[in-house]
């Protein structure tokens, strides 16, 4: 989930390691056809990295392409291109960015063309747009598509029948199509080996996330967090490279923890930690660095975020289980953040505010993502009410630069932080029902 950086940017050693890993992956993709490697396009939430690794195929994740286009300032042009082709202004900009990129030669971040897919693996977890996205891509590519429908956790748990449904689809739809495309027989022991590697990396990843409970937090769990989730949520879960990365990352963070220092930002080590926030919603990618700067300039560190859970809630105890390979994949898919119902999301955010001793919840509501955004205003109210800590609300988009208004966001963020400060100075926390930084409208029945 990381993107392009300029040379004057401060980087943690793990970021350099990740950059090399990603570079290697894109190199492998560029040479995939030459080397006879099969390529599978799939989505981040609930992806089947270990299964794909067991078939030795190379994944391409269109959301990552889109966010990297956003960070490289190309998404505006790609979105415009898609809109000219008839895609509505009202819909997800990840989709339009991807379509625009495709129509412009599908050039990846390393400047080389991404290979066409041999299979579209539509892992439809927590987002209806995924379904339409791959239907759109299917119009462009002459390749099979495998559909994996993951039921929603409507009642706040993974029902046994839902697990069985996903496993049945893996057995009858996904695995046969992977066998067909690769010409390889499914090897469940190979899958188990990859799952074992996942568990190792997952343990280290959780240690990194949990480090933010300390004061000062040695990490930023949102802006820095998007780097930390990169390998785990994409192509490197279940790989030796992933294990190495998370071991190195954990050591790096533990070193900062021991030294009592805060996160590294693109502008250098962060100064005094003045505010501890929980953030809900994805970040904006087109002005990522500017967005982060608004926080670290104010001494605000994000100690927990929901976005870093779109690829699984490892911090709540989930680990891949090599003993039950297909069932664990089903549980993983169903357990991703956007597949949780609203009450679960509220509970989780309240827990984060309490456990990480945060000053409050800030929501970055992105226009493009209804899966995240629909219901966020209620989430904000409920978390405020239950925790007694104030909430803040800013709006932007994922990769559409037209929807990033830096001045507005900065203004709102500063007002929110001032409100927290004021409450501290008078020695009270926000009481339930107190106005938050955006809407002060009566809600509820």
């Amino acid at each position: 989930m990381s993107g392009a950086q300029t040379e004057d940017v401060h980087k943690e050693p793990s970021m350099r390691l990740q950059k090399d890993m990603i570079g290697g992956h894109f190199q492998a993709l560029a040479n995939a056809k030459k080397n006879g490697k099969k390529v599978v396009y799939t989505f981040v939430p609930g992806n089947l990295a270990e299964l794909l690794a067991a078939f030795e195929v190379l994944p391409v994740l269109p959301e990552i392409n889109a966010l990297q286009s956003g960070m490289r300032k190309k998404s505006g042009m790609f979105i415009g291109e898609a809109e000219k082709l008839g895609h509505s202004e009202d819909v997800c900009t990840y989709v339009k960015c991807d379509i625009g990129m495709l129509k412009n030669g599908n050039i990846g971040p390393t400047g080389e063309k991404l290979p066409d897919p041999d299979l579209l693996l539509l892992s439809y977890t927590g987002c209806f747009t995924f379904l339409k996205w791959f239907e759109l891509l299917r119009q462009e590519y002459d390749c099979p598509i495998a559909m994996l429908h993951v039921p929603y956790q409507a009642d706040g748990k993974i029902e046994p029948g839902h697990r069985e449904y996903v496993v049945n689809q893996l057995r009858t739809e996904v695995i046969p199509k992977l066998e067909e495309v690769t010409g390889k027989k499914f090897d469940i022991d190979k899958l188990r080996e990859h799952l074992k590697l996942s568990v190792q990396a997952e343990d280290d990843f959780v240690a990194v996330l949990e480090s933010a409970k300390h004061r000062p937090s040695p990490i930023d769990s949102y802006f820095g967090g998007v780097y930390y989730i990169g390998p785990m949520f994409t192509s490197f879960r279940g790989s030796e490279a992933g294990v190495t990365y998370y071991r190195a990352l954990r050591q790096e963070v533990e070193k900062r923890l021991a030294a009592g220092v805060g996160p590294i930002t693109p502008d250098g080590p962060m100064g005094e930690e003045k505010f501890r926030l929980v953030v809900e919603g994805p970040p904006n990618w087109t002005s990522f660095r500017e967005f982060w700067k608004m926080f670290h300039d104010e001494g605000a560190v994000v100690v927990a975020s929901s976005y870093t859970k779109v690829g699984g809630l490892y911090d709540r105890g989930f680990r891949h289980d090599p003993e039950n390979p297909l069932e664990t994949l089903a549980d993983y898919c169903a357990g991703c953040y956007t597949n949780l119902n609203l009450p679960q999301r509220i509970d989780l955010l309240c827990q984060y505010v309490e456990e990480f001793d945060a000053d409050g919840l800030l929501i970055n509501s992105v226009k493009s993502c209804n899966s995240f955004s629909a219901g966020q205003l209620l989430i904000l109210r409920e978390v405020e009410k239950r925790t007694g800590r104030p909430g803040g609300f800013v709006e932007s988009d994922l990769v559409d630069p037209r929807y990033f208004s830096g001045a507005n966001i900065k203004n709102r963020l500063e007002s929110y932080l001032q409100m927290i400060d004021q409450k501290r100075s008078v020695g009270v926390s926000a009481a339930p029902g107190m106005p938050h930084s955006k809407v002060d409208v009566e809600m509820g029945p």
């Binding site: 819909v91 839902h162 409208v441 509820g444």
Partner: protein
């Protein structure tokens, strides 16, 4: 009373039901059936047979374009469609108090999340998200769907305090089969003689079924169709269009009238699609849960919220346009409707391949100005009348 007066009276009655944001018809039904319960459902499709077999009244909740949104807007950002705002407004203003429970079918991320919001906002009311399979293999998706149906059945049994017997469910399937046949007959008549069965009237007749018991709705449909076909109306020089994209959030009925007044006979549409989701009778014998699952998996309509397994997005629309001898297609979707708008480029491509003229615009359920739509539709109709090859 003349036939014209009689049909007007029926239309007025249906119009009153359509505009009644207080669901008075539901309250009256409950008063007439002491102790009986009413269960709401959002678009698009739920198996109303289960609710009916439980002795309850299924009530369609499709939002409302005429009510003032006082608190509903405080729950949603500006880039989210209008339907959830009015549904929340109906809920928080007490207008849905006659409902003892509500089903949120799997349509899109907004309605999905609304189901969780409802659990938080109305913790004492039965709220159920109704998931539907996107895998259409009876042994895989069918098994999952049967479990979902049984889960709804179980919950309704608890809500009603009595079991739903298979015989009752089979009887409900039979009465809804009649309803589907009558709706099909209405659409067929409209396609054949749209000057006798205008789309706006037909819409109101279908919509009446959202608050009336199905038996009463069946009688209404029969009566209306007989009277409408008997009236002395002459065909006008209108083009024939299929309207698509309006399956969830509903356009104001005035917008449908506007299209017709602009010179477009609407010979098919996807308004209130859930009522016509199943395209053939459900087997009313044998295992009723299996029959409902079979109908959903194997005999349901094509829609943007449903995975298009064969990749032929838009081909079903083209087929309908050809079958109904449409001169053109009107893409008419609500603003910010992800399924409709993400699907539209694929449908447009299919329509272009078939060389069918089309136009498109957006609406919301509370759209109040129709002049621009009238001009656009009128221009579209003129262009086909004046310059088409046919």
């Amino acid at each position: 009373m003349s036939k014209m007066s009689q049909v007007n009276a029926l239309v007025e009655r249906a119009d009153a039901l359509y505009r009644d944001a207080d669901f008075t018809a539901v309250q009256r039904w409950k008063e007439a059936n002491p102790g009986a319960k009413a269960v709401g459902y959002l678009p698009i499709y739920v198996p109303r047979e289960l609710i009916h077999a439980a002795g309850m009244l299924p009530v369609g909740v499709t939002g409302h374009g005429d009510i003032e949104i006082i608190r509903g807007d405080a729950y949603f950002q500006s880039y989210i469609c209008h339907l959830p705002r009015s549904v929340v407004e109906l809920g928080v203003s007490g207008r849905l108090d006659s409902l003892d429970g509500i089903l949120f079918p799997s349509i899109c991320d907004v309605v999905r999340n609304l189901s969780g919001m409802w659990k938080v906002m109305f913790p004492d009311r039965w709220t159920k998200y109704f998931d539907v399979p996107q895998n259409f293999d009876m042994e895989v998706g069918g098994k999952f769907y049967r479990a979902e149906l049984n889960s709804v059945r179980h919950d309704l049994e608890e809500l009603g305090g009595k079991p739903i017997l298979d015989d009752a469910l089979r009887a409900s399937i039979a009465v809804y089969n009649e309803n589907r046949q009558k709706l099909e007959a209405l659409y067929d008549a409209r396609s054949r003689k749209p000057w006798k069965v205008p789309a706006w009237e037909s819409y109101l007749m279908v919509r009446a079924g959202f608050v009336l018991p199905v038996e009463e709705h069946n009688a209404l449909l029969d009566e209306y169709l007989a009277l409408a076909m008997a009236r002395d109306e002459k065909s006008k020089d209108h083009i024939r269009v299929v309207v698509t994209g309006a399956f969830c959030e509903q356009p104001p009925v005035e917008m449908i009238r506007t299209l017709e007044r602009a010179g477009c006979y609407i010979v098919d549409d996807d308004f209130l699609l859930g009522s016509r989701w199943l395209r053939q009778d459900v087997n009313a014998e044998g295992d009723p849960i299996f029959a409902l699952a079979d109908a959903f998996l194997n005999h349901s309509t094509s829609a943007p919220s449903k995975y298009q397994e064969d990749g032929k997005n838009g081909e079903a629309l083209v087929a309908i346009a050809k079958e109904k001898k449409a001169d053109g297609i009107v893409f008419c979707a609500p603003s910010f409707c992800d399924p409709a708008l993400l699907d539209q480029p694929m449908a447009v491509a299919a329509v272009e391949r078939a060389d069918i003229p089309y136009t498109s615009f957006l609406y919301s359920e509370n759209t109040g100005q129709f002049q621009v739509i009238r001009e656009q539709a009128g221009t579209f109709a003129d262009s086909i009348r004046l310059w088409s090859n046919s």
